[in-house]
């Protein structure tokens, strides 16, 4: 199984590496998303990115990355706006973006030749076909995000968990919110364009959720989630290569299975500690 995977390396190296680095990038950001209880926001941002891809296809501009990133950044910023008392809630905005993204991407391409096939392919995810430029982009973003997160872990934990206290100790929460929304939108948009919705959303939330169940402290999640994601991506690629399954789906299925293990581990730990 392993040797078969290694033999396929020369043919699929860019795809494998792009999946690995995109997974690492998304898993770092996923910890922030999960800690802020924004899993639904991540789904809405991913759908908005898909709408951007659909619009690019409809207009035939040939700039899918730019459209995907622009739409996902806008969605991340819109969902990050603070709710007013008695006014529009964050959930309303998020739900609106999710539904418009999901329905709009189909409607835009419903009359387009191969349009629906394109949407189905983007939603189902295919991590095969990444170029060297994707590998470099995701490697740089993953390294930068990883270093940033690990260096400022304590600040990020305080910001995502308790923004009022973060403001009290001098953190500029508006600037932090804006920065994190932009990075989330940028990363999600690039990942959707390269690997599709399922892989992107799966790598964004599942490793962080697994880490949340395995860890006793929020700070540790920033180490565990990338390890879980990298392991699952590599194992998924090996299995997909051996059994000739679609790799994106295998990786997400593995992560989902690991989450069940995480729930079981947490349950046993609570029983034991009680």
């Amino acid at each position: 199984m392993i040797s078969g995977f290694l033999n396929s390396w020369s043919l699929f190296a860019p795809s494998y590496l792009a999946a690995l680095f995109a997974g690492l990038l998304l898993s770092f950001l996923g910890v922030i998303v999960v800690a802020r209880a924004q899993v639904f926001i991540a789904a809405a941002v991913a759908q908005a990115s898909l709408l951007g891809l659909a619009l690019d296809t409809l207009l035939g501009t040939g700039q899918p990355a730019a459209f995907a990133v622009a739409f996902s950044v806008l969605a991340a910023l819109a969902t990050g706006t603070r709710a007013q008392r008695g006014g529009t809630s964050q959930e309303e905005v998020t739900a609106w973006i999710f539904l418009v993204g999901a329905s709009g991407s189909i409607l835009l391409l419903s009359k387009h030749p191969n349009g629906l096939k394109f949407v189905q392919a983007a939603m189902a995810s295919s991590i095969i076909g990444a170029a060297t430029a994707d590998v470099v982009t995701f490697a740089v973003l993953a390294a930068g995000t990883g270093l940033f997160v690990l260096a400022l872990r304590q600040r990020i934990v305080l910001f995502v968990c308790d923004p009022v206290m973060a403001a009290a100790v001098g953190m500029r929460i508006g600037a932090w919110s804006l920065g994190l929304a932009t990075v989330l939108g940028l990363s999600t948009g690039l990942a959707i364009r390269s690997s599709g919705l399922l892989f992107t959303f799966g790598c964004l939330v599942l490793p962080a959720l697994v880490a949340k169940n395995l860890c006793r402290e929020a700070g540790t999640m920033f180490f565990v989630a990338p390890v879980v994601c990298a392991g699952s991506v590599l194992a998924g690629l090996v299995l997909a290569n051996h059994y000739d399954f679609p790799p994106g789906q295998i990786i997400v299925a593995l992560l989902a299975a690991l989450l069940v293990c995480g729930w079981a581990w947490r349950w046993f730990r609570l029983q034991f500690s009680a």
């Binding site: 999960v34 800690a35 802020r36 209880a37 007013q84 008392r85 008695g86 006014g87 304590q154 600040r155 934990v157 305080l158 995502v160 968990c161 308790d162 923004p163 009022v164 206290m165 973060a166 403001a167 009290a168 100790v169 001098g170 953190m171 929460i173 949340k212 860890c215 006793r216 402290e217 929020a218 700070g219 999640m221």
Partner: protein, 290 residues
């Protein structure tokens, strides 16, 4: 920048509330306020919560922010902390507080997302954000505040398995690990039983009296204010009336703030007693302020 801020603070201290404050605390009155609000108006959207607030808080003072629910107590402290921006007016911290390393908050309740795993150790260490300390100092501070709050034995426990009183003590410990000179406390006894509330209040009061920490304490409990505070600010109808406790705690001010008749007595020792008067009965007096 600092000198400009100091100048503005000096101007701010001439506000009416500040004059009262200066009269009551002669030793501290000569110092510039550690925190000063100047003609501050706070609003959510179009709804104004507080208008034209003036406040000057000096070192070592114990301020109680009082008022019925929904009058803007928590909004005011969020503004003092920088989490809510005034729509008009300015809030200044003294030059040596600008970096906020000696400022800390004890919120009304733990606002951490309850599905995020965290231990008491990690939670309390979160209070050190923005402060540069080496590992030895960090451990010493952690041990010190956990001992002070009597939760050392809970150090490795999940925050979410603690009782309400223990969690409130962890919140205070997270604030104290910053070694604060200004501690802002937002109704920390809400939801606690009497014993836990009294114990927590005694711990906070001793910080003010023994270590000279300036305290801003939000409460709607007149008894707590009468017993522990040196100054009070009453919030009602978007207005703030502030100053030394004995000047602000008048029957007229308290009745206007809380909408019920309130009797105020000053005993021979200078202690303030307050009691809410109802139609045909008078409740027991609250604990006196020594």
């Amino acid at each position: 920048m600092s000198s400009r801020t100091d100048q503005l603070l000096a101007t701010g201290s001439r506000a009416p509330a500040s004059n009262a404050s200066a009269a009551a605390a002669p030793p501290a009155a000569e110092e510039k306020p550690v925190l000063c609000a100047e003609q501050v108006t706070l609003a959510y959207g179009r709804r104004t919560v507080l208008a034209d607030v003036n406040l000057a808080i000096r070192r070592g003072e114990f301020w109680a922010l009082l008022g019925p629910n929904g009058e803007g107590k928590s909004t005011l402290i969020k503004a003092l902390l920088g989490a809510v921006k005034p729509v008009r007016g300015k809030i200044f911290l003294r030059a040596d507080f600008q970096r906020r390393t000696r400022l800390a908050l004890v919120p009304q309740e733990c606002e951490v997302n309850p599905s995020v795993p965290t231990t008491v150790r990690e939670f309390v260490l979160g209070g050190l954000v923005g402060i540069t300390v080496d590992g030895t100092q960090r451990d010493a501070r952690l041990k010190g505040v956990l001992d002070l709050m009597a939760i050392t034995h809970l150090r490795e426990r999940s925050l979410w398995t603690l009782s309400g009183g223990q969690r409130q003590r962890a919140l205070v410990a997270r604030a104290l690990i910053r070694d604060p000179l200004l501690l802002i406390v937002d109704e920390p006894t809400a939801g606690l039983d009497l014993a836990a509330a009294a114990s927590l209040l005694d711990a906070i009061t001793s910080l003010s009296r023994e270590q000279g920490i300036t305290i801003v304490f939000v409460t709607h409990d007149l008894g707590i204010a009468a017993k522990h505070a040196t100054h009070a600010a009453l919030l009602r109808g978007g207005k703030l009336t502030g100053g030394p406790l004995k000047e602000v705690f008048t029957p007229a001010n308290l009745s206007r703030t809380f909408g019920v008749p309130v009797a105020v007595h000053h005993d021979a020792q200078g202690c303030v007693h307050v009691a809410v008067e109802q139609a045909q009965e008078r409740k027991s007096p609250t604990n006196p302020q020594p």
